[in-house]
Each structure stands twice: as C-alpha cells, then as structure tokens.
Symmetry: C2
Subunit: 242 residues, 2 copies
DNA sequence: GCGAATTTAATGTCAGACAATTAAAGTTCT
DNA sequence: AGAACTTTAATTGTCTGACATTAAATTCGC
C-alpha cells in the first residue's frame, strides 16, 4: 500500500482510500488486525495524528472498529445489516432533503420499490409478519394518535411487509427508501377521514398478504400510492394558497 | 450542541454525532460554514486534533467539505446523487461480500428491484436510453470480449434501463443493487452459448422498451433472472464437484 | 495453583509549533 | 485612478512529543 505525498489530496484521505481498497479487494479480511497506528505512521511515512484521521474516516463508514488495551488496535469490521441500514437511512434522508426531491418523485420511487417485493412477501411472509401488520393497522385506528405516531406506524407496517419477502438484501435496500420518506410524510396532516381511507387500504393489503395473493398486494400498494399522492397534492395546494 | 466528557464513547465520535444531528435536523444548512477548528475545540472543550478527527468522520460521509485558506473552513456539503451512489455501492458491495450473501438472494433482490422500475422505464425512456441499451447489446456480441468486460457491459445495459425511469431516487437505490452484484457476477464464466442466450434476452427487453411495453420489459427481466440463476447454479455445481 | 499486583502495548487526548494555502487588504507603479 | 504586485491574516494540514486510559499478559506472593 503506497501513497503519493505530492498529491494535492490530504494524506489522511489517501491513506484511508488505500486501506479501504485493501478491504474491498479482500487483501484485508474481516476481523484481521491492522498494524498499530505507530506502525502505519512509519509505513506511510506520516505522523500518528495523520494516520488517526485516516482511521477515523474508515470508522465513520463502519469499515473498521478500534479497541483499546494491550491486544487492541484497529480491526476490519464485518459490515452488519443493521449498520448498513443506519448508513443508508441517513444518506437517503439527507439526499432527499438537500436536493429538493419532490414528494411525488420520492413517493413514486418508494412504492415502485415496495411493489418489487410484494409478490415475494405474499409468498413467504410468516404469521409473525402478518401479525405485525395487523397490529399496526389497529394502532393506526386509535383516536388521539399524533400525525407523527401515525406515520411511524405506517413505516412499521410497510417494514413488516418488506421483511416478509425474507430477503435481507431487499429489506436493506428498502429501508432507506421507506424511512427517508418519513420526514416528507410528516409534513402532511391527516384528517380522520384520510386516516380511515389509508387504514382501509392497509387492510386490503394485509388481506391479500394473508391470502398469499401477490397481485392483490401489488394492486393494494398501487391504490395506496394513488391515495397518498392525491392527499399530498391536496395538502400542498392548500398550503400554497394560504 | 453539547457533549458528555464522561461518556465511554470517544470524544471525536460524540462531536461528530452532535454536528451530524445538527445537519440532519436542519440547524446547520447546506453551504453554511462551521466554526473554525480552534473555535470548535474551545466550544466543546477539547483539543484541536480531537475536533479534526470528528470533522474527518463527517467528511468521510460527505456531510462536510473543507477548504484551506483565509476564508476556508468546514462547510455543510450538499450531498449529491453521485456522492450518494458511490457510498451506496461500496456499502452494498461490502455488505454482500462480508455476509456471505448467496448469489441466489442477491440476484433475486436485484431483479425484483429492477422490475420495480420496468413499467416506468418503458413509459418514459428517452431515445438516448434506448440507444445506450442497443449499443451495449452490440458490444456484448463482439468476440474476444473478456468475462469482466461482458459483465461491465451488462451493468451499463441495466443502468440505462433503470435510468430510463427518469426517477433519480430509483436510480440511486438501484445503483447499489446492480453494481454490488458485479463481483458476484464476475465469478461466473460465460460460454459463447451462454452469452448468446443472454444477448437474446437483452434484445427482448430492448424491444419491449422500444415499444413502451412495460409488461414486456417485466417479463423479459423475469426470463433473464431465471436464465442467470440457472447459469449460476450450473457453474457453482460444476465448481463444487471439482 | 491461584489471586493480586505489575508490566506492557495499544488507543485516546492534549499542547504547541510550523507549513501551506488562499482571500483580502495594502502598496506601489503607471 | 486604476491595475499589478506584495503583504498580511486566517485557516486547514501536518509534525513532534508527551501523558492518560484501557485491557490483556505476566509476574509475584502466598
């Protein structure tokens, strides 16, 4: 692993890139210990703070973990699904909020992705997933629920649907899309009548899932998307007129 | 913004989290300048190297950018789609390689997601997208192409299909799934006959896209998935027997 | 043998310095 | 007055050396 001390880029960025490449290409494997900071500093011909900055960059991406003490050091970290979820959610959330992505675009993407796992979920969902969906529907019907709590329950409902597909890669990809929508969804206020309609659509979806009817779930999602879009349009229109 | 100096977590991690929260919650907005390292050090009551480690963590996630010079400093960075793509691709790639995700699972997820944007792409794809798809199909038919080049062209083909949906959020989500599959795909060797079959399926998809036939694209993708899965199974079986 | 104290090797943090970079202010020449 | 050049100031990038903290390994006492 070599770096170019004359490059305009920061040394710590170069070092981080070099180590990252080694991990991605498999030259450093999971749980393998990296040389100590002092050794790395010598290898790359830089000072220890510079090495440390590089290691912090990698730690921020969950590529390494560090441990103190005699046998401590930096170890290549096994990137877990939960870690990846978290990263994806913050990235997606910021991406949407910083790039003025319209509600329409985000919503379209979210439901398109969700429909992608509808057939699989209808086929494979466990009783547990179904129970979660039913429970969230029930929660959504309770009076006195804040808009935020309603949205959170909505996310949990869809999360159960997605997880029902039994494909962790799908769940991981969808987590970002669904969760990142939440700030946008929270901008909407739901009247009691709005909620009733959404709950009815949720019930259709749960029923289709119970019947292992993939097409039914897909259609239910399409109907829910249409409802959500028109609801959002109405809200934004009213807000613009004010 | 406050941190707890008695917490077991690293100070630099706490500081990074505090600043990250401020960005996510909108208390720091895009292009806003953060206080200088020296000022941050004073605010948080830590030394400058500690602050720097925190800032490097944020820089690694593209949340801030730094500039040297008199009016320099750290600025809240607008997370661009290309930046997000890159992060997603490395994360997805590592996730698959480090968690022993089976080819089958990854492949299923990839095609499910891709089918999600098939109808949209059939409806909206520009002549440009179609031309790219045709060009990649042509490249795939050329003799002497290495397996890696064939796979790269495959990715480009699917990329054009996905981008055809005209939804940047979808493109972003799919980039990870498609690109992360490449290392897995590269494990497969394609005979001339295999390639011919895949090219024929690609042509079906391109034709359906040209005819704005969403169902046709969907079916084409399903057929391609089946072909890919059986091909992979054969390869892995042969390899296991060896 | 076994438990407690010690050693040791690592990361975490600090302080202070200098180098490099860049924009703005100031200065000089025309 | 204005343009080109120089200086200055602010800021990040890097280095050196030190000390604190942690946790495993080792040694010592019994």
């Amino acid at each position: 692993m070599k770096i170019d001390p004359k490059s305009p880029a920061d040394l710590s960025a170069q070092i981080a890139a070099a180590i990252r490449d080694a991990i991605v290409e498999g030259r450093l494997i999971v749980d393998q210990r990296l040389p100590s900071e002092a050794e790395l500093a010598e290898q790359f011909n830089v000072s220890r703070p510079t090495v440390r900055e590089a290691l912090k960059r990698l730690a921020a991406q969950s590529l390494i973990r560090t441990q103190r003490g005699a046998t401590g050091g930096a170890f290549v970290n096994r990137l877990s699904f939960p870690d990846a979820y978290d990263q994806q959610i913050t990235t997606s959330t910021l991406l949407l909020s910083m790039n003025a992505v319209s509600f329409e675009t985000a919503c379209e993407a979210r439901y398109a992705l969700e429909r992608a796992c509808a057939p699989l979920s209808a086929m494979r969902r466990s009783a547990d997933h179904l129970a979660t969906m039913r429970a969230e529907i029930h929660r959504q019907g309770q009076p006195g629920l804040t808009d935020e709590a309603f949205c959170a329950s909505d996310v949990a409902f869809h999360r159960a649907l997605v997880d029902g597909a039994g494909n962790p890669v799908l769940s991981y990809q969808l987590a970002g899309a669904v969760e990142a929508m939440q700030p946008l969804m929270n901008m909407i206020t739901f009247t009691a009548r709005d909620r009733a309609r959404i709950i009815a659509l949720h019930e259709n979806i749960a029923n289709a899932a119970e019947a292992c009817d993939g097409d039914g779930v897909t259609q239910g999602l399409t109907a829910l998307e249409a409802e959500t879009q028109s609801l959002a349009q109405a809200v934004f229109k009213a807000r613009a007129a004010r």
